[in-house]
């Protein structure tokens, strides 16, 4: 079981802020493939992952990172703070 959270236009495009998923995905990329297969809204949001960032348990990570032991995966666009 993994919690998935979405922010900014990723959240808007998917239409969800948070969901909990039963998944066997080994990596972030596998998880994205699984989501995209589920619904075209995910495919639209994840069309260009170079425009996206991912955080695992609230630390910035990479799309090829393993998901073993991860409780929370976050997807969002490049940050615009300050």
């Amino acid at each position: 079981m993994v919690d998935i959270v979405y922010f900014a236009w990723v959240r808007e495009r998917i239409g969800l802020a948070r969901e909990t998923l039963q998944t066997d995905a080994a990596t972030v990329a596998d998880l994205i493939a699984e989501l995209c297969a589920r619904d075209p809204r995910y495919a639209a949001a994840f069309a260009d992952t170079s425009a996206l960032r991912v955080a695992l348990d609230q630390d910035l990570s990479e799309f090829d990172a393993p998901l073993a032991g991860v409780r929370e995966v976050a997807f969002f666009p490049p940050m615009t703070g300050g």
Binding site: F7, A8, F76, M79
Partner: protein
């Protein structure tokens, strides 16, 4: 060292009043305040979304890194979230150090990293009712390379 992520406005004067004061080893205090700009003349508000939990973590990591690189007597980061009007302060950073170079560099480092590595996202609200997410600038990503 204080970090605050908050919806409420902050009081710049009150925050700076005691900052780095009363110490014989502080020769330089730098502050930065970021405010809501309206370049188009068509904006009504700026909305700041963030990732509660990760935001505080990410800022703490950035502050830790600054404190490792520069000897700072004090360091302050306040960042607001939610809906802000034009001209309102969004965030502030302050650094206190022995010399000016450390105080300036640490403040710029904090700002460069807060821009691109702290999970905030800005959305512009126009008078027309339209909204648009602010795109990250390549220049902001490039700015990280100097550190």
């Amino acid at each position: 060292m204080r970090i605050s992520v908050q919806e409420a406005a902050f009081d710049f004067a009150a925050e700076m009043a005691g900052f780095g004061q009363g110490r014989a080893d502080v020769g330089a205090i730098v502050s930065f305040t970021g405010m809501v700009r309206d370049d188009s003349g068509q904006m009504t508000a700026l909305e700041l979304e963030h990732y509660p939990g990760m935001t505080e973590r990410a800022i703490a990591k950035i502050v830790d890194e600054a404190v490792t690189r520069w000897v700072l007597a004090d360091c302050l980061v306040i960042h607001r979230t939610g809906r802000l009007g034009i001209g309102e302060p969004i965030m502030m950073v302050a650094t206190a150090a022995r010399h000016r170079v450390a105080a300036f560099e640490a403040a710029e480092f904090l700002m460069d990293y807060l821009k691109s590595r702290a999970p905030f996202w800005k959305k512009e609200h126009a008078l027309s009712g339209e909204t648009a997410w602010v795109a990250a600038k390549e220049a902001d990503e490039d700015a990280l390379r100097r550190w």
